[in-house]
Symmetry: C2
Subunit: 163 residues, 2 copies
């Protein structure tokens, strides 16, 4: 598996699983029904942010991550990131590979830490992965996510100090 | 003091104190040096968000607030807001008037709660005001704000449940 910079040529591969994951309604408070141009606007991070894809040996896109400063100006020394793994590629370590890449990028770029502001508390696989990388849950905003299939759940604010 | 909808005609009044407060560097992780068009893009919230101004009897703009959903999609039932009081109008209850207006708007619109994601912990006046309205500090992201005049300080995540 290779993690490389995403390009516009990856949009036709990203778009379908991006829409599938958002429509599934259990993990992301993102706009629904974005077309590929909308996915590009939402997911492709302007510099100094970056968007990457994980691809297999055939070049198939398995997942994607975006990263960049969590805030502008006097908050830009803390980074943030978001991750999407194609449902067809689950269980192959794609999320972990993307996450390790993102942490390494933040270290290289001298960030003080990484903040995730909206990790759905019932997304236990993701929460366990972030914890295994050293992230801690700082707080849980009660009921801040409205899943498609059950009652409202909290959004974790998670943080990994890098220095 | 009246709190009313902001219009483009208020930009020449908002712009100078917006830039002064951001450049002062103690309270907001916002982009610096925005011109009035940049302030408009950053501060004037698209529907269903709103931007309001507090004005005195002469029509002088004393402060402004923006509000709207904290997240799109499945997070849009929690609101958020930001506030700016003109330094020339401090100590006159402008922040409180704006905050009470914002809470009333959120109640009217049926939000579940209000989240502030980046309250600078050393901005003790603001923290005390939010606490007096019922907000609680859920967490403090360590060192996430880099003030102009001293070392890095935390950003509070504050929350007010509305139902």
């Amino acid at each position: 598996m290779l993690v490389r910079e995403a390009t516009d040529d990856d949009l036709p591969a990203i778009g379908p699983f991006f829409r599938e994951i958002v429509a599934d309604g259990e993990t992301y408070a993102f706009p629904e029904d974005l077309d590929d141009a909308g996915v590009r606007a939402w997911w492709f991070a302007p510099a100094p942010g970056r968007t990457v894809v994980a691809v297999d040996d055939d070049g198939t896109v398995l997942g994607t991550a975006k990263m960049g400063p969590n805030r502008p100006g006097r908050g830009s020394h803390v980074g943030t990131a978001s991750f999407m793994v194609s449902p067809a590629a689950r269980g192959r370590g794609v999320g972990r590979a993307l996450a390790e890449h993102v942490v390494a990028c933040h270290l290289e770029q001298g960030y003080d830490g990484i903040q995730f502001s909206a990790v759905v508390e019932t997304n236990t696989g993701a929460v366990a992965l972030w914890r295994s990388l050293g992230f801690e849950v700082l707080a849980t905003v009660p009921g801040a996510f409205d899943p498609r299939r059950h009652g409202k759940v909290g959004l974790h604010v998670m943080f990994l100090p890098l220095r």
